[in-house]
Symmetry: C2
Subunit: 477 residues, 2 copies
């Protein structure tokens, strides 16, 4: 340690994290499943740079999220920043390339960065899985996003998920119905977005005089009058039997209000198309309390959540945003899409015990009983790998079998292969079942093993039967 003064402390930047193999294997599995489903719907992969011009990210006069952007200068003196979502870069790209197919269906799986305050489970870098269809105003495109996402969640085995649907148009009608000027709309939507987490009474306080939150912070109110708040309450507490019933109740409440007809007709089309696809009220419901915070939505909005794990909030959210591309030079191009919160979904599924993972990809561990036999071990590993079985030879510094098997446990290998001089002479290998009697538990920061008690099976097999015997032992799990 003579050079220790020159050494750098190995540490992460505040708000950033490493994703270790146990969690990465889950992420890869979730991404692969989602990708396969969305590709079946005709969505194609796209990649855009992490770094964009600041005015591309912000618009000419700066917009929401301005504070959150990590910004810097390139060697050419250009003012740039790290993207904070995948929607703005998509809008930039669509405005930039006139010859893209239209409609343009794409998905993008990529990191985004936000410089806001990190907290438990809240990081400054996280990945998003976005799907969007650009260049169509048709409701069928919104329905497709919803239907494909339902299939993704089903394919992942997410238990009892539910998708809520509403429309910004309906919320605009609500503003008129409540007698408020359109300029108040976004403030009201932002407060309504808190209904799920804060409840109706807190929301009513925020619509009127304001309130003090649990940590003692004062949240200012919007100062709306009682008549307006009563009407808003009437809307958000609407209920009906299924989508059709809710829609009828909304149409009834809003009868005669400007814009009510096209808004309810849009939800009617969504209902009809979902019904034709066999997607029932139990999976996709109309929810008048759904608002979503972002300013740019212009039509249908949707969110998926897990009633069994409500603390994780929505695992998918999106909607129609017909005005975003117009921010860039060029024509107005309608668009709709959503974002799957991959890491949040994994956290929820781990909590529910739906996902389990392993510390590594390795199925078979080849112990090194005699370093002189390394070529034999490599040959054994090669034959298993040719058969598609993930195999690792021990290459650490431990000579003893016990310590080598402790390593095999650490990487959650399921079968160990023992081959010493005796076995070699007999033309045999010994197989040891390692997986018997333990269980892998993966948390957000890595994997650990819970031992349920060891019951290790072991057998000798001829070299020629190696692959078949390993397959059999792996299949017995």
């Amino acid at each position: 340690m003579s050079a220790s003064d020159d050494r750098v402390e190995p540490r992460l930047v505040k708000g950033f994290r490493d994703v270790l193999p146990g969690e990465m294997l889950l992420r890869n599995r979730v991404v692969a499943t989602a990708r396969a489903v969305y590709e079946r719907y005709g969505f194609s992969p796209l990649d855009t740079p992490a770094v964009e011009h600041l005015d591309v990210l912000l618009g000419k006069y700066g917009e929401q999220g301005a504070k959150e952007i990590f910004r810097f200068e390139t060697p050419d003196g250009e003012a740039v920043g790290l993207r904070f979502d995948l929607t703005v870069p998509l809008a930039r790209l669509v405005a930039q390339y006139a010859d893209l197919p239209r409609p343009f269906r794409r998905y993008q799986v990529a990191a985004v960065w936000r410089g806001d305050k990190p907290g438990p489970g809240r990081f400054r870098e996280f990945i998003q899985f976005d799907i969007d269809t650009v260049g169509t105003a048709q409701t069928a495109a919104d329905v497709e996003i919803i239907a494909a996402t339902r299939e993704v969640l089903a394919a992942l085995g997410v238990p009892g998920f539910a998708i809520k649907v509403s429309s910004r148009r309906l919320l605009d009608v609500l503003i008129a119905y409540a007698g408020l000027p359109p300029a108040r709309a976004h403030d009201v939507f932002r407060v309504l977005d808190k209904l799920d987490k804060q409840g109706l009474e807190a929301v009513k306080l925020e619509l009127t005089a304001g309130r003090t939150d649990a940590s003692g912070d004062k949240i200012p109110g919007l100062g709306l009058d009682t008549a307006a708040v009563d009407r808003i309450e009437r809307f958000v507490t609407l209920s009906g039997k299924g989508r059709a019933g809710t829609l009828a109740a909304v149409a009834d409440l809003f009868a005669g209000v400007a814009g009510a007809e096209p808004a309810t007709a849009e939800l009617g089309r969504i209902h009809d198309q979902l019904a034709a696809l066999g997607i029932g009220d139990d999976v996709v419901a109309f929810d008048p309390t759904l608002a979503r915070g972002l300013a740019y939505y212009t039509g249908p909005i949707f969110e998926a959540f897990l009633p069994a794990a409500p603390e994780f909030g929505s695992v998918f959210g999106g909607g129609r945003y017909d005005g975003l591309v117009e921010r860039f030079k060029g024509e107005a191009i309608p668009a709709t899409g959503g974002s799957l919160g991959v890491d949040r979904l994994i956290a929820a599924l781990l909590k529910l015990g739906v996902l389990t993972s392993r510390a590594s990809t390795t199925d078979v561990f080849v112990a090194v009983l005699d370093p002189g036999l390394i070529a034999e071990y490599q040959a054994v590993a090669a034959s298993l790998r040719s058969a598609g079985i993930a195999t690792e030879i021990y290459l650490g510094e431990q000579r003893g079998l016990k310590k080598q098997l402790a390593y095999a446990d650490r990487i959650a290998a399921r079968v160990a292969i023992l081959l010493g001089g005796d076995e070699l002479a007999r033309g045999e290998v010994t197989l040891k079942d390692l997986a018997e009697g333990k269980r892998q538990v993966v948390g957000m920061t890595g994997a650990r093993e819970e031992y349920l008690g060891a019951r290790v099976a072991q057998r000798a097999v001829p070299r020629a039967d190696l692959v078949a015997a390993v397959r059999e032992m792996l299949a017995a799990r």
Copy 2:
């Protein structure tokens, strides 16, 4: 366009690029193939943040690459930068987490950023596919990286690739043999690294008096004397029959030079293990001209290249770096690994005509002949998707079939489904073979189609036979 003054010009930051679906589909295919092979060797996925502390990236006193780093401050005032490779973050991680399995085999597929001057095919953001084994000094670990990568290149169908192997230890012996002080070593290696691109005469000039390059720039020389250069030339022009012959020639040349024995013994072990794995001289050769520019290598070094496309340089490169982890507080931990240049490999394979791609994932295109039948089209698409066939319904604004089919061509769909009132009444659909007579050509900036002449087949089938008939038409390609 009344608001055009407020609009932002949609454009990329200099040196950055978008990857459109045609190329992304190839990237995903290459990554999936490499991942499957490396996972069979027991490498597990890992992710580290894009943003690291500047001193982590640079070491305490700054090092190579310092100019290239995109740097900025976090809201907490921390000095950070974007990673420029995946090796330094791995070393940081291994030093930071004492409880990782050791050896620790991991792969990471991620973007890296370098602020140097962009040029043709040279971008400031690109993805790397790195594999490394940390925590073992054994030669078998180096051999495993080589063997696994050979399997990746074979699985990708890369024609006639070759892997060159040498060792930094051998180059250290060369420095002694040439009578030079060890302090000159890195300068000499940096010049030798140019042998492939610049040739022997240019390298000899750079070792002595310097030279003027093609653009008229003066490249200073190292000022070595003739005796040293003669000995270096003798080494880099060594040849022998296969690995064993080259090794014998090296041993002969370096007989009696300090360090020669362990260096040749190391290559001897590599040769033996490769031979035992059935990997011949035609695939992996010892090449005394291989130097690799990076300072941190300490043992075996290796590169893969495509003799049929030498202009792309190496598509994989790496080596042993036993000192890198020690830069961080903690113990010295030996490590070896390499990096697959995914984008460069794709460019080379496209050039060689080995890879072909498509503009989208869509196999089947459902035309919208009658917007009133949208639920029927959705049902048709749903049945195909359930059968695993990627299907897209036309959701654009064009009413005419001709324009819709032009869109289907644009996304390179292979079968179109036509369903109007007549077909509906008969319980039929019409299938149109779109792929007949054209070919998809994908360049680095996107996909285009070459028409070889249209010969479109069309047939009507009962709705019940839809999936089978589509499968048949797709299989006929």
